[in-house]
Symmetry: C2
Subunit: 418 residues, 2 copies
Amino acid sequence: MLGEIIAIGDELTSGRILNTTSHFAASQLFAAGHEIVAMVTIGDEPDLIGQTLQQALGRADFVVVTGGLGPTTDDLTNAAVASALDRPSTFYPEIFKKIQAHGNTLSANRKIFLEKLAWLPEGAHALHTEVKSAGYFLVHDGKPVFFLPGVPHEMKELLLETVITRLAVWDGEEVRKVRQKLFKVVGMAESEINRKLGHLEGRDPRVKIGYYPVFPEVHVNLTATGASAVEADGVFDKFNQQIESVLGPFVYGSDTDTLEKVIGSSLKERGQTLAVAESCTGGLLGHTITKAAGSSEYFLGGVVSYSNSLKERFLGVNRETLLKFGAVSSEVARAMADGARRQTAADYALAVTGIAGPAGGSEEKPVGTVYIGLATPEKIHDFLFNFSGSRGRIQRQACQAALDLLRRRLLDYELRTV
Amino acid sequence: MLGEIIAIGDELTSGRILNTTSHFAASQLFAAGHEIVAMVTIGDEPDLIGQTLQQALGRADFVVVTGGLGPTTDDLTNAAVASALDRPSTFYPEIFKKIQAHGNTLSANRKIFLEKLAWLPEGAHALHTEVKSAGYFLVHDGKPVFFLPGVPHEMKELLLETVITRLAVWDGEEVRKVRQKLFKVVGMAESEINRKLGHLEGRDPRVKIGYYPVFPEVHVNLTATGASAVEADGVFDKFNQQIESVLGPFVYGSDTDTLEKVIGSSLKERGQTLAVAESCTGGLLGHTITKAAGSSEYFLGGVVSYSNSLKERFLGVNRETLLKFGAVSSEVARAMADGARRQTAADYALAVTGIAGPAGGSEEKPVGTVYIGLATPEKIHDFLFNFSGSRGRIQRQACQAALDLLRRRLLDYELRTV
């Protein structure tokens, strides 16, 4: 189906806030097989809201409107819609009751505005039976129009839980079921993934495969639809299996997984611990590991040995090794990993030493040269990477490569150099 | 003036790419005193491009169009504009000559497309005499229309260098000069800044003050215009001085400054060094410091002592202190800072220990409790903060507060607890 996305809010047209919700809606709707005619962002202007909605209804099969649904006086979407579509504002006592129940936690100051949330254009249906958040839909000129809150997490939840499903039902006038999965891929370029999965694209009209680079990862979205849940499941399972078998260990997880969470779960399961020794990443590796809640169960900490003296003092790296091979070398990466593991008594230690730039490169070791050491209870590994890009991008790639090597080691996959 | 922003590209409507250029244009145009009617994003569809442009010309005083100007066949903006505005595609030999000169570095494969870049709608003027990048403007129905490339850095450069200046000239039919500055504020909430600067707003029609929360900082934008450079400078200087005097040491820098760069410059200038000891930030503090290129000149590194055993082993924190006061305490923050400074022989050491959550809080020390220690050549300071928000937000606030304390110490400002 052809869709149009309208985002409403003065904070968007003044550039105060970056509009990420329209982008999220477009990518999800596209992945679900729809095409977006236009994404329009306008301020809280009743006339303009009405005109924009009319225009969208004239050229799209469905419309998603976000923002302007709140209880304060500058939220004008509902009144504008009521007027533009000639659907008088109507009080919905059922919605008001639920809002009141939910609103008990609000301050008195906000409560007086709550009644406004229950005045919606005639023909509106709440999107969520729980009325956890504002959001409704109505059918106008035979086309579904969805009104979602502008708050990103509320909007995203309602879009995924209600809009995509309702559109799937609408499409083709039959109840179509949708199954979706986001594959998270590490260590393989988008073009390579594309090449490997190309033969699956367009093979079945019920299937869509989308590619989303989320530096330094690539995410692959699989959407399968069917007239019944059984059909959708069957199509999904077939393609899911094929993508998994083609990408193999390069897929580290799916949907809400992160590399650090996957590693954390694996370490927790084994009752093992991890330490780090960082040079060019300056703390990014430790920070990434501790983004996962509960990481204190398996992460002991480590050393940011930015200077050579700290590599000696905290990690016991030999001064001769530093002088002979240089701080950016496989020998020092190994010694750092070994030192971090011994000093902390962790089961595993990751070490990163490299040249993040912009200065410090040489012909022999250009900017982007990064050595990673991995010390395990059995042995010490070292790996050489040649990254490119800005200082920040090199740091992020180095951090991700280190985590991926540990993941492969924990899951018994081949340890490879990119 | 009233403006409209149109972004063109299938990669935007499919959600593959997040449109950040429209947001950048809106915020810069808004700061320069313009208002944005609408921001419209559409695919590479000639008819829709034409209609959208016509609509924009009908309701705005100027239009900024981005994207679709490239040399490949899917870039259709110029042809669509030529047709919609009835301005036949015209070959501009001057532009072609410059493109050819510039294009010598391109592959043969790309060169054959270059001629396309010199075919523009009748009445077009190159935006840049260097023709470094695609980009032109024309005046239609007495309104300026700007066509900019979709590549963010090219678009941003042309917008700032040519569009904003030309609009300033256009506005009021006189050459208006613009001066702008972004104040970067740390440790003061947006509402508080707003309250303190409120008396300056609306006092002079030549001045605009805007507030942009960039968590955990707040940026304040000052734009002053004048009929001449002298007038603009005079207005700018007056308001600049007033903002500086009101916000005082809460302003850590301006425009492209970052907190870590400001600290780095100050340390470099003094020939002094810094080390860190991190617990709840897990490496974020070190990582932030090493975001600044050249940080190895003053940053020695440090310890991520996530576990108590590492606090003892690497930093020499007393086991009794840990047991008596707990790892999250002013005593341990002091001991960590002192230990990091002694062990690394740095001039300054920052230590962070706290509860980032979501678990681990207690009634006495809820999630968000963070102690920061600062060891200097003269003494050891400690500070208690109570942050709120998600784990990630607490970590970022703790990191920023630590850096800000060091900045205040280096610049001899009062050291305060927020």
